[in-house]
């Protein structure tokens, strides 16, 4: 059995590597204001984090990750560009997986750099990849930015695109919306009745609660507009499905994405980003020809990744979560920054899992 001291020693060793790469050591508090995290991640995080409270400060959360406090710290008083590293415990409730630890150590590396996003992504990935090379892990990569661009490029209403974008991280719901918008699932009877009613608002009595009559009316208008909009064409659905199904090594994935981009030109800039990243990775010695790319990778993570995503997995231990994971989270900095934004990419290693694998070898 590995002791906490072994894990902490391994964590310090990993953090030193990040320091040598130019990162400043930071040490955010264990207790974080729950409101910020709940507002950011939604109610799901409540099911996965430990929340406690006191009469003065209100609800506090035992940090479920370091990303949010590091971003807040950087946006409050960081110089640019900046690189940070940290090592310490994070806490996750494991109601669905009682065998997984609810407290474990993460060592992380976060890069805030506006100049060259592809280079920053390659830097984070290559650094972590080198640190894990001896453990013979399988790397998975993806790019949420390509999916976002694909949705934005669909020939349909802005409202439908907004709904699809909002649910990129919920694949099943995304699929249901696509089926609805393409006419594959019929309009429910109650919706038809609503749309057939010349004055549905007369039934909106008594009006209780904070949602106003104006908001109800606005949504009914939106539903009429949606009903009048033509379905998303089967051709576009096929393109999107081809895109979501891509699972290849990076060079072949790029080829297939370029094919999709011929008919869905909106994704071209995002595909160029992937190509730039691949070039930057080659410069850093990553064997891109054997690196996997999955277009749907990263869609079910709790985190707020909206571009490049990656994870490192022990293939002989499919029961284990990823030993390392990370990605780009520009949208998160936008939300935390009240309009300000700083392009950010980072990743974490779990030294406890790494040690477990090293001992088994």
């Amino acid at each position: 059995m590995l002791s906490r001291r072994d894990t902490n020693a391994r964590a310090m060793g990993l953090r030193e590597v990040f320091e040598t790469a130019g990162a400043e050591v930071v040490d955010p508090p264990l207790l974080q204001p729950a409101e910020t995290l709940l507002d950011l991640y939604g109610e799901d995080v409540r099911g996965r984090a430990y929340i406690t409270s006191d009469a003065l400060r209100g609800e506090q959360m035992l940090r479920p990750d370091f990303t949010v406090p590091v971003v807040q710290m950087h946006m409050a008083h960081g110089a640019e560009p900046a690189r940070y590293t940290y090592a310490g415990e994070v806490f996750r409730r494991q109601e669905d997986n009682p065998d997984r630890p609810s407290e474990y150590v993460q060592v992380g590396y976060e890069v805030f750099d506006r100049e060259n996003p592809a280079a920053a992504e390659a830097e984070v990935f290559a650094l972590i990849s080198n640190m894990l090379a001896h453990a013979k892990l399988r790397a998975a990569t993806g790019d949420i930015g390509i999916l976002v661009a694909a949705v934005a490029g669909l020939k349909t209403t802005d409202e439908r695109k907004a709904a699809l974008t909002r649910h990129i991280w919920r694949p099943r719901k995304f699929r249901q919306l696509l089926d609805r918008y393409s006419g594959k699932t019929p309009t429910p009877v109650t919706r038809k009745d609503l749309l057939a009613d010349a004055d549905p608002l007369r039934r909106a009595v008594p009006l209780i609660g904070k949602r106003t009559l104006g908001e109800i009316g606005e949504r009914i208008t939106a539903l009429h507009n949606d009903a009048a909009a033509p379905p998303i064409s089967s051709g576009e659905i096929e393109l999107l499905e081809a895109l979501l199904g891509i699972r290849e090594t990076v060079p072949f994935a790029l080829e297939q994405l370029r094919d999709v981009a011929v008919d869905l030109p909106a994704i071209a800039p995002a595909v160029d980003r992937l190509a730039d990243r691949a070039d930057a990775m080659v410069e850093r010695g990553v064997d891109v020809d054997r690196l996997d790319f999955e277009a749907s990778y990263g869609r079910t993570s709790l985190e707020y990744y909206d571009g490049f995503v990656f994870g490192f997995y022990a293939e002989r231990r499919p029961d284990l979560p990823p030993v390392a994971s990370g990605g780009r989270y520009d949208a998160l900095t936008r939300r935390l920054g009240n309009g300000q934004e700083i392009p950010a990419v980072g990743g974490v290693i779990r030294p406890g899992l790494l040690l477990e694998l090293e001992h088994a070898q």
Binding site: R172, G209, K210, R211, I216
Partner: protein, 229 residues
């Protein structure tokens, strides 16, 4: 050793449980004064009655301090995240029926499904700057149901009682609560979403998988099961 049987200590749930066991030849009685929570079992050997709050019975079963217990499906599913591993359903008892449902104001004529609720949650957040609030005491069940349905941009707010009033009081926009006839919902101008049924609950006899089952407890269990038919 004795088999410990946990039964709700108050009200209709207790009375109905007593009646249910009596009909099967097992007499449960409260002993001592009306205020004292002590009980006795007649008609069967080696069984001790433990009277406690229905809400605490799931926890006691999971901890193995009760061998068997009577409580609602809703409480077991809400309080025990891996309940299949912790308890086993012996028999649904046919009373204490209640449905856990999601309800919204009647006036929301544009909302009939969880899909509608999700769209409204996005719209509400954009207008009001905070998430659409759903008042409930069944946090885990509601959160799981909404996750399965792909509802986002909501927040649960805790409500331990008078939940139906929270919308009119503007401390929540929607509710998730237990209802048997739906009358209280209607009286508070709320309607149940057409796919808003999260769980059908009824009083149920449970067996703990975590308690110590010796020869004596096994024998008592076998006798009880025989009486149940």
């Amino acid at each position: 050793m004795t088999l410990k049987l946990g039964v709700p200590s108050k009200g209709r749930l207790m009375e109905k449980t007593f009646d249910w066991f009596a009909a099967r030849g097992i007499t449960l009685t409260r002993t001592g004064s009306d205020r004292e929570y002590a009980g006795a079992v007649e008609g069967i050997e080696g069984v001790a009655l433990v009277l406690l709050s229905a809400g605490e019975i799931p926890r006691e079963l999971a901890a193995g301090r009760l061998h068997m217990g009577v409580t609602g499906t809703d409480l077991v599913h809400e309080r025990l995240p891996i309940w299949e591993h912790q308890v086993e359903e012996v028999e649904a008892m046919g009373f204490g029926h209640a449905d856990l449902v999601i309800a919204v104001p009647n006036a929301w004529v544009d909302v009939d499904t969880l899909g509608d609720l999700d769209s409204v949650a996005a719209q509400f957040r954009a207008h009001h700057g905070h998430r659409l609030r759903i008042a409930t005491k069944y946090h885990r069940l509601v959160r799981e149901a909404l996750r399965d349905a792909g509802v986002a941009d909501y927040a649960l707010v805790d409500s331990q009682g008078a939940t139906e009033g929270t919308v009119a009081n503007e401390t929540a926009e929607a509710i998730a609560d237990i209802t048997s006839s739906g009358e209280t919902l209607r009286a508070n101008h709320l309607k149940i979403l057409s796919d808003g049924l999260i769980l059908r609950s009824e009083a149920t006899l449970w067996r703990s998988r975590k308690a110590e089952w010796g020869r004596a407890e096994d024998a008592s269990l076998a006798t009880i099961l025989k009486r149940l038919g």
